[in-house]
Amino acid sequence: MDRRSFLKLSGVAASASVVGACSRTSQNVISFVEAPNDGANPVDGDWFATTCRECNAGCGVIVRTVNGRAKKIEGNAIHPISRGKACARSQAAVQTVYHPERLTTPMLKGAGGFESIGWDKAVDVISQRFTEAEGKLFYLNNGANDASSGIVNEIFGKMDGFLNVGNSEPGFESLVAGGAALADSPRLPFPDLDHAQFAILFGADIFESGPSPVFWGGSFGECRRGRASVRGRLVYAGSRLSSTAAVCDLWLPVPPGKLGLLALSVAQVVVDIIISRKLALTIPRNALGRWSEVLKDYDPEKVAAQLEMPAEYIHKLAIPFVDESPSVAIAGADVTGHVNGVAALDAVEFLNMLSYEIGREKLRIHERLTPEPNEGLKRRITQALGVDHEAQGYKRMVELVDGMEQGKYSMGIISHTNPVFDTPAGLKFKDAMSKVGFTVAVANFMDETAAEATLVLPDHHWLEGWSVQNPNFVPGVPVLNLQQPVIRPFVDTRSGSDIILAAAAAAKLKTPAASTEEFVQGKVKQFRAEMLGAPAYLGDEEFFRHLLRNGGWWSSEIENEPTPTPPDSVLWEYRDKLKAPEPEFDGAENPFYLHPFQTVHMGRGQGANNGWLQEAPDPITTLMWQFWVEMNPATAAKLGVVEGDMVKISSAHGSITAPVFPYKGIRPDVVAVPIGYGHTNYGKLATGRGENVMTLLGAKQDTDSGAHAWRAQKVKVEKAQGRMKMLRNAHPEGEYKGEVFQL
């Protein structure tokens, strides 16, 4: 360059440095118009108690807000389910509320696709449809028992042709049916892991998915190291070494669908021990005799070959089950995901009943520190909020799909669930949905289901809206979670249930309240008299504020009575439940069992558009931003593939391709694929990433409960073209070969 331009350049550089050093930046400081009258510290922030709605566990959380922005979510220390802790998805919710792709206007499907319309027009459109529908409509949510479902139920519940449906986590209704085996009403089983000395997890990935990973995580910590002189022991039986199995002391790779058989075999040995040691139990002796008779077929010697383990192992599970009482058995997706799920659950609950009885005999009675149970109150709250056990689950989804096909519904409301994405191909939800004249999707983001709807309503994020929630998780224990807005709506959304109320009022239907907030207050008032432990002397308004400060109502912890022995008649007839039907598989001619599983970050797919969750390494594979298939190294060798090679996995319903992650912790005849990937319409981060394993699944159901048998699919696996770089955060096997872990 020449002298002139060189000087020019250095002149510019010099002046740039002057400007850069300038701190006469004029920023504005904007003061309040009216100061908050509680003298709260504006920068430390205000903490509000609310309820996390990322899944249906109903964990109480507290949220730090600074200057009206949500900054951090933590567990609510006094809440009985979260117990002061929060999971990864709950922590990531502060990114979701400020996500650039949040829906901001109602959209009505016209000839050329979606057009934005105003809120008033949206209310008009819906109200007109309400009038035309005359009660022939369905309400589909994710299984939550909350204000939205309560409002819809109160408006339409008694009308002919109305259907309430919950698209719950797979296996939910089987768990409920299994829990009902020995109780007098349907309930989720609630084994007391906190105080157990020995636990057998039957395919229960409870620390990663399912009813409440936060609660079970806390229980696990207590069980393992919460007591000075006892280290709880856990055994995991299932096809895949999940992160839950990783923290257990032993992993037993039982063939898919055979966990019920294992439970019965363990039970056989336990009953044998009870009889041979002449343990004095409250159980009538002839009941024991009957069971022993029936269980003879499940003697370890007879079934060990089917279970692919030495018979001795089964004895080694049964003996601590007796000797290290209190012991618990917990069933999960590897049990409920098969057609023989309920039968297997009956066996698992049988083991739990035996455990309680043995514990009683040895004076090691379960001292369960749980909030006071009140089955009646719980049932009434559930009914008041609309979506009860019967309305939840796959069986009901099938009923809905049949109804949609037959034209039974003139309209439908789908709230915060994505069945077009997360239900199996065999259900054919999308086709059925297209036959309904008018569907309203209440959602935060455009997703596959909202894309199919006629009208999309952008709802408040759970940090911005009102609700009440009755978690399914703790059976017989009423917990009334309150969800309050911790920040003002960030974008121009309205509460979905407020819109429904407005539309119903415009259609001259009887509405329970003028707004969701009023509805929530009404529910609190309705049950107030039965809320033990809450201050009776406060006026209604003050009482509501009091509950909001805590995050809801649950009765105080007490030392519970031991679980009662089931009545003789139930025990007597239990003999008929002790069976292990063979599992059945869709695509039985194919060589591999497909093991779809929920990861801690993606959930059923909602987490896929969140950058934090995508970048967080998966616990087992440590993969980030990526989809994969796990297979045993021996299987990979047989197929001639190495890490990163693409394989095609196919069934009669569809096929997907995925990069291989060889993993020793999986049976050689099983391939595991995470769910929640393969979105086709869920934002920039999620769309086109991976493939949707649900497209491979047929519609097999549990014989008893109708739950979706989502682990009952067999598939073909073939090498395909291409490779992918595996975005691992770790060496495939870890650098340190276990030295730090030995005692």
Partner: protein, 242 residues
Amino acid sequence: MKSFNYKKHNDYSWSMIIDLDRCNGCGACVIGCQAENNVATVGEEEVGKKRNMHWLRIERYIEGEYPHVKVRFLPMMCQHCAQAPCESVCPVYATYHNPEGLNVQVYNRCIGTRFCGNNCPYSVRYFNWFDSSFPEPVNNQLNPDVSVRERGVMEKCSLCMQRIRRGKDTAKDEGREVQDGDIQPACAQTCPTGAITFGNINDHESKVYKMAHSGRAISLFEEKGTHPAVKYLKGGTNDVIG
């Protein structure tokens, strides 16, 4: 245990104990830390170059052959070593050991030589290769107590210094010392199993003191002589089948 190269007595000596027998790899701590400390996400391409910035990572070890496989988890973050290999190599003294036992990283002094990251045996230092992008509206979530680092600066776990500072502030307001359990870094507060415990190891009544003196406490890479303030409690396996 006080760091041995400090002569004057200090009230606080912060320590963190991680119980390896409780960690189930759920990753709540990773995201909790990210939310609390304005840690950036780098995206797919940069992750492929191993440039993800998680201050806290869960290492996963697989041992054995099928079917006798064991998988273990180890949460790893800055160990706040008393004899930190990173501190002695910074040409501008951007990292040093403070009297309370923390390894301090001063963002505005750092000139980005990356020598410290090179020296760290635990690989827990992360470099900002680019300006972290917190575009609107995601920047509404940023924690006002923590700087947003710009490119060219090293960062790492600070044991949530902003929370320690706030805890001491509150204690001073009330005219008392910090009690055990008052201060919880983000990871410790959110861990569902209670695997992470934080406290003042100079307080002989504190949980961390008792845990550090139980038979299970170990330091990682003890043979390198780093004397970390973060200790791990060894896990165990109770043989079931013998």
